[in-house]
Symmetry: C2
Subunit: 145 residues, 2 copies
Protein backbone atom coordinates (compact mmCIF):
# COMPACT_ATOMS: atom_id res chain seq x y z
CA UNK A 1 0.00 0.00 0.00
CA UNK A 2 1.08 3.62 -0.60
CA UNK A 3 3.02 4.62 2.55
CA UNK A 4 0.93 7.72 3.21
CA UNK A 5 -2.33 5.84 2.73
CA UNK A 6 -0.88 3.27 5.15
CA UNK A 7 -0.41 6.11 7.68
CA UNK A 8 -4.03 7.18 7.11
CA UNK A 9 -5.10 3.54 7.68
CA UNK A 10 -3.21 3.53 10.99
CA UNK A 11 -5.28 6.57 12.00
CA UNK A 12 -8.47 4.77 10.95
CA UNK A 13 -7.46 1.77 13.05
CA UNK A 14 -6.69 4.04 16.00
CA UNK A 15 -10.21 5.47 15.67
CA UNK A 16 -11.70 1.98 15.65
CA UNK A 17 -9.67 0.98 18.71
CA UNK A 18 -11.10 4.03 20.51
CA UNK A 19 -14.65 2.91 19.69
CA UNK A 20 -14.99 5.46 16.88
CA UNK A 21 -15.68 5.53 13.16
CA UNK A 22 -12.66 4.06 11.34
CA UNK A 23 -11.67 6.76 8.87
CA UNK A 24 -8.18 8.25 8.86
CA UNK A 25 -6.35 11.00 7.07
CA UNK A 26 -2.89 12.52 6.75
CA UNK A 27 -1.69 15.79 5.22
CA UNK A 28 1.62 15.61 3.38
CA UNK A 29 3.84 18.54 2.41
CA UNK A 30 7.18 18.09 0.63
CA UNK A 31 7.13 14.36 1.32
CA UNK A 32 6.52 14.75 5.06
CA UNK A 33 3.39 14.13 7.12
CA UNK A 34 2.48 17.46 8.75
CA UNK A 35 -0.88 16.41 10.21
CA UNK A 36 -2.70 13.19 11.12
CA UNK A 37 -6.29 12.70 12.17
CA UNK A 38 -9.24 10.41 12.47
CA UNK A 39 -12.98 10.77 12.82
CA UNK A 40 -13.89 12.10 16.29
CA UNK A 41 -17.71 11.83 16.31
CA UNK A 42 -17.80 9.29 19.11
CA UNK A 43 -14.62 10.23 20.97
CA UNK A 44 -15.21 13.99 21.15
CA UNK A 45 -18.94 14.10 20.40
CA UNK A 46 -17.93 16.09 17.35
CA UNK A 47 -20.17 17.00 14.42
CA UNK A 48 -17.36 18.55 12.41
CA UNK A 49 -14.23 16.47 13.08
CA UNK A 50 -14.39 14.01 10.23
CA UNK A 51 -10.98 12.41 9.65
CA UNK A 52 -9.88 15.01 7.10
CA UNK A 53 -11.02 17.91 9.31
CA UNK A 54 -9.28 16.43 12.38
CA UNK A 55 -6.15 16.06 10.25
CA UNK A 56 -6.30 19.69 9.04
CA UNK A 57 -6.97 20.84 12.61
CA UNK A 58 -4.00 18.86 13.94
CA UNK A 59 -1.77 20.27 11.18
CA UNK A 60 -2.50 23.68 12.71
CA UNK A 61 -2.68 27.11 11.12
CA UNK A 62 -0.85 26.95 7.82
CA UNK A 63 -0.41 29.60 5.15
CA UNK A 64 -1.77 29.38 1.62
CA UNK A 65 1.69 28.61 0.22
CA UNK A 66 1.86 25.54 2.46
CA UNK A 67 -1.57 24.22 1.50
CA UNK A 68 -0.82 24.85 -2.16
CA UNK A 69 1.87 22.16 -2.21
CA UNK A 70 0.04 19.71 0.05
CA UNK A 71 -1.59 16.37 -0.63
CA UNK A 72 -4.45 15.16 1.55
CA UNK A 73 -4.79 11.40 1.98
CA UNK A 74 -7.99 9.87 3.26
CA UNK A 75 -9.02 6.25 3.67
CA UNK A 76 -12.51 7.19 2.38
CA UNK A 77 -13.86 9.53 -0.29
CA UNK A 78 -14.22 13.01 1.32
CA UNK A 79 -17.80 14.16 1.98
CA UNK A 80 -19.17 17.60 1.03
CA UNK A 81 -17.75 19.23 4.16
CA UNK A 82 -14.25 17.76 3.84
CA UNK A 83 -14.24 18.42 0.08
CA UNK A 84 -15.16 22.02 0.88
CA UNK A 85 -12.21 22.30 3.26
CA UNK A 86 -9.92 21.03 0.48
CA UNK A 87 -11.34 23.71 -1.85
CA UNK A 88 -11.14 26.49 0.77
CA UNK A 89 -7.45 25.92 1.30
CA UNK A 90 -6.60 25.21 -2.34
CA UNK A 91 -5.10 21.80 -1.59
CA UNK A 92 -4.22 20.64 -5.12
CA UNK A 93 -4.09 16.87 -4.66
CA UNK A 94 -6.27 14.33 -2.86
CA UNK A 95 -5.56 10.60 -2.62
CA UNK A 96 -8.49 8.40 -1.59
CA UNK A 97 -8.32 4.86 -0.25
CA UNK A 98 -11.74 3.83 -1.48
CA UNK A 99 -15.04 5.31 -2.69
CA UNK A 100 -17.22 2.20 -2.78
CA UNK A 101 -18.82 2.38 0.69
CA UNK A 102 -19.30 6.16 0.37
CA UNK A 103 -18.58 8.57 -2.45
CA UNK A 104 -18.35 12.33 -1.94
CA UNK A 105 -18.55 15.03 -4.62
CA UNK A 106 -15.40 13.89 -6.44
CA UNK A 107 -16.54 15.19 -9.85
CA UNK A 108 -17.23 18.65 -8.41
CA UNK A 109 -13.87 18.72 -6.64
CA UNK A 110 -12.15 17.77 -9.91
CA UNK A 111 -14.13 20.47 -11.74
CA UNK A 112 -12.60 22.99 -9.33
CA UNK A 113 -9.12 21.92 -10.45
CA UNK A 114 -8.14 19.37 -7.78
CA UNK A 115 -6.24 16.22 -8.79
CA UNK A 116 -8.30 13.42 -7.19
CA UNK A 117 -6.91 9.84 -7.23
CA UNK A 118 -8.81 6.81 -5.98
CA UNK A 119 -6.57 3.86 -5.08
CA UNK A 120 -9.37 1.32 -4.55
CA UNK A 121 -7.55 -0.28 -1.65
CA UNK A 122 -9.44 -3.41 -0.48
CA UNK A 123 -8.25 -3.00 3.15
CA UNK A 124 -9.89 0.44 3.36
CA UNK A 125 -13.13 -0.86 1.90
CA UNK A 126 -13.25 -3.95 4.13
CA UNK A 127 -12.70 -1.87 7.26
CA UNK A 128 -15.62 0.43 6.39
CA UNK A 129 -17.91 -2.39 5.23
CA UNK A 130 -17.48 -4.21 8.53
CA UNK A 131 -18.06 -1.02 10.51
CA UNK A 132 -21.17 0.06 8.58
CA UNK A 133 -22.70 -3.41 8.96
CA UNK A 134 -22.12 -3.26 12.73
CA UNK A 135 -23.11 0.40 13.33
CA UNK A 136 -25.43 1.55 10.54
CA UNK A 137 -27.10 4.27 12.64
CA UNK A 138 -23.85 5.86 13.75
CA UNK A 139 -22.60 5.78 10.18
CA UNK A 140 -25.78 7.42 8.88
CA UNK A 141 -25.46 10.16 11.49
CA UNK A 142 -21.92 10.85 10.30
CA UNK A 143 -23.01 11.39 6.71
CA UNK A 144 -26.23 13.22 7.52
CA UNK A 145 -28.74 10.58 6.41
Amino acid sequence: MDKFLEAAMQEAQKGLDEGGIPIGSVLVIDGKIVGRGHNQRVQKGSAVLHAEMDCLENAGRLSAVDYQRATLYSTLSPCDMCSGAILLYGIPKVVIGENQTFCGPEAYVRSRGVDVSVLNEPKCRELMEAFIQKHPQLWNEDIGV
Copy 2:
Protein backbone atom coordinates in the same frame (compact mmCIF):
# COMPACT_ATOMS: atom_id res chain seq x y z
CA MET B 1 -32.23 43.48 12.32
CA ASP B 2 -33.54 39.89 12.14
CA LYS B 3 -33.34 38.56 15.73
CA PHE B 4 -31.33 35.47 14.79
CA LEU B 5 -28.90 37.47 12.68
CA GLU B 6 -28.62 39.78 15.68
CA ALA B 7 -27.62 36.74 17.78
CA ALA B 8 -25.03 35.82 15.15
CA MET B 9 -23.73 39.41 15.29
CA GLN B 10 -23.36 39.09 19.08
CA GLU B 11 -21.19 36.04 18.45
CA ALA B 12 -19.12 38.00 15.90
CA GLN B 13 -18.65 40.78 18.45
CA LYS B 14 -17.63 38.24 21.09
CA GLY B 15 -14.99 36.95 18.68
CA LEU B 16 -13.69 40.46 18.08
CA ASP B 17 -13.56 41.15 21.83
CA GLU B 18 -11.44 37.99 22.22
CA GLY B 19 -8.98 39.26 19.60
CA GLY B 20 -10.38 36.99 16.91
CA ILE B 21 -11.98 37.24 13.48
CA PRO B 22 -15.46 38.78 13.86
CA ILE B 23 -17.75 36.28 12.20
CA GLY B 24 -20.64 34.70 14.07
CA SER B 25 -23.25 32.06 13.43
CA VAL B 26 -26.30 30.48 15.05
CA LEU B 27 -28.26 27.33 14.21
CA VAL B 28 -32.01 27.57 14.63
CA ILE B 29 -34.47 24.67 14.88
CA ASP B 30 -38.20 25.19 15.40
CA GLY B 31 -37.65 28.85 16.24
CA LYS B 32 -35.02 28.16 18.91
CA ILE B 33 -31.27 28.69 18.83
CA VAL B 34 -29.67 25.25 19.35
CA GLY B 35 -26.07 26.27 18.69
CA ARG B 36 -23.96 29.43 18.64
CA GLY B 37 -20.41 29.93 17.47
CA HIS B 38 -17.77 32.27 16.20
CA ASN B 39 -14.51 31.99 14.30
CA GLN B 40 -11.81 30.39 16.49
CA ARG B 41 -8.68 30.76 14.33
CA VAL B 42 -6.92 33.06 16.77
CA GLN B 43 -8.48 31.88 20.03
CA LYS B 44 -7.98 28.12 19.51
CA GLY B 45 -5.37 28.18 16.74
CA SER B 46 -8.01 26.43 14.69
CA ALA B 47 -7.88 25.84 10.94
CA VAL B 48 -11.39 24.39 10.79
CA LEU B 49 -13.50 26.32 13.30
CA HIS B 50 -14.95 29.02 11.12
CA ALA B 51 -18.03 30.57 12.75
CA GLU B 52 -20.46 28.15 11.08
CA MET B 53 -18.33 25.13 11.98
CA ASP B 54 -17.95 26.28 15.59
CA CYS B 55 -21.72 26.75 15.71
CA LEU B 56 -22.39 23.24 14.33
CA GLU B 57 -19.82 21.82 16.75
CA ASN B 58 -21.43 23.59 19.70
CA ALA B 59 -24.87 22.36 18.61
CA GLY B 60 -23.49 18.86 19.14
CA ARG B 61 -24.35 15.57 17.48
CA LEU B 62 -27.75 15.96 15.85
CA SER B 63 -29.70 13.54 13.71
CA ALA B 64 -30.62 14.11 10.07
CA VAL B 65 -34.24 14.88 11.00
CA ASP B 66 -33.00 17.75 13.18
CA TYR B 67 -30.72 19.25 10.55
CA GLN B 68 -33.46 18.91 7.94
CA ARG B 69 -35.61 21.52 9.69
CA ALA B 70 -32.75 23.81 10.67
CA THR B 71 -31.73 27.25 9.46
CA LEU B 72 -28.11 28.35 9.68
CA TYR B 73 -27.48 32.06 10.18
CA SER B 74 -24.08 33.56 9.49
CA THR B 75 -22.92 37.16 9.54
CA LEU B 76 -20.83 36.44 6.41
CA SER B 77 -21.34 34.36 3.26
CA PRO B 78 -20.20 30.77 4.06
CA CYS B 79 -16.92 29.67 2.44
CA ASP B 80 -16.44 26.37 0.56
CA MET B 81 -15.86 24.44 3.80
CA CYS B 82 -18.86 25.83 5.68
CA SER B 83 -21.05 25.49 2.58
CA GLY B 84 -19.92 21.86 2.39
CA ALA B 85 -20.98 21.29 6.00
CA ILE B 86 -24.41 22.74 5.17
CA LEU B 87 -24.68 20.30 2.24
CA LEU B 88 -23.39 17.32 4.24
CA TYR B 89 -26.09 17.74 6.85
CA GLY B 90 -28.84 18.71 4.45
CA ILE B 91 -29.56 22.02 6.19
CA PRO B 92 -32.28 23.45 3.94
CA LYS B 93 -32.02 27.16 4.70
CA VAL B 94 -29.14 29.60 5.13
CA VAL B 95 -29.48 33.27 6.05
CA ILE B 96 -26.43 35.45 5.38
CA GLY B 97 -25.70 38.86 6.87
CA GLU B 98 -23.60 40.09 3.98
CA ASN B 99 -21.62 38.81 0.99
CA GLN B 100 -19.81 41.97 -0.07
CA THR B 101 -16.52 41.53 1.81
CA PHE B 102 -16.41 37.81 0.94
CA CYS B 103 -18.70 35.63 -1.13
CA GLY B 104 -18.68 31.84 -0.90
CA PRO B 105 -20.14 29.38 -3.43
CA GLU B 106 -23.74 30.58 -3.00
CA ALA B 107 -24.80 29.63 -6.54
CA TYR B 108 -23.50 26.08 -6.07
CA VAL B 109 -25.23 25.75 -2.69
CA ARG B 110 -28.48 26.95 -4.28
CA SER B 111 -28.00 24.47 -7.15
CA ARG B 112 -27.92 21.71 -4.49
CA GLY B 113 -31.38 22.76 -3.31
CA VAL B 114 -30.58 25.05 -0.37
CA ASP B 115 -32.62 28.23 0.17
CA VAL B 116 -29.96 30.94 0.52
CA SER B 117 -31.02 34.46 1.58
CA VAL B 118 -28.66 37.43 1.77
CA LEU B 119 -29.89 40.22 4.05
CA ASN B 120 -27.21 42.79 3.09
CA GLU B 121 -27.00 44.09 6.63
CA PRO B 122 -24.68 47.16 6.77
CA LYS B 123 -23.58 46.39 10.37
CA CYS B 124 -22.22 43.00 9.30
CA ARG B 125 -20.36 44.51 6.35
CA GLU B 126 -18.91 47.40 8.36
CA LEU B 127 -17.60 45.04 11.04
CA MET B 128 -15.78 42.91 8.46
CA GLU B 129 -14.50 45.86 6.43
CA ALA B 130 -12.92 47.41 9.52
CA PHE B 131 -11.38 44.07 10.53
CA ILE B 132 -9.98 43.25 7.08
CA GLN B 133 -8.41 46.70 6.80
CA LYS B 134 -6.71 46.21 10.16
CA HIS B 135 -5.67 42.55 9.78
CA PRO B 136 -5.40 41.70 6.06
CA GLN B 137 -2.90 38.86 6.57
CA LEU B 138 -4.97 37.09 9.23
CA TRP B 139 -8.03 37.44 7.05
CA ASN B 140 -6.24 36.02 4.02
CA GLU B 141 -5.07 33.05 6.09
CA ASP B 142 -8.66 32.38 7.11
CA ILE B 143 -9.85 32.17 3.51
CA GLY B 144 -6.79 30.35 2.16
CA VAL B 145 -5.33 33.13 0.03
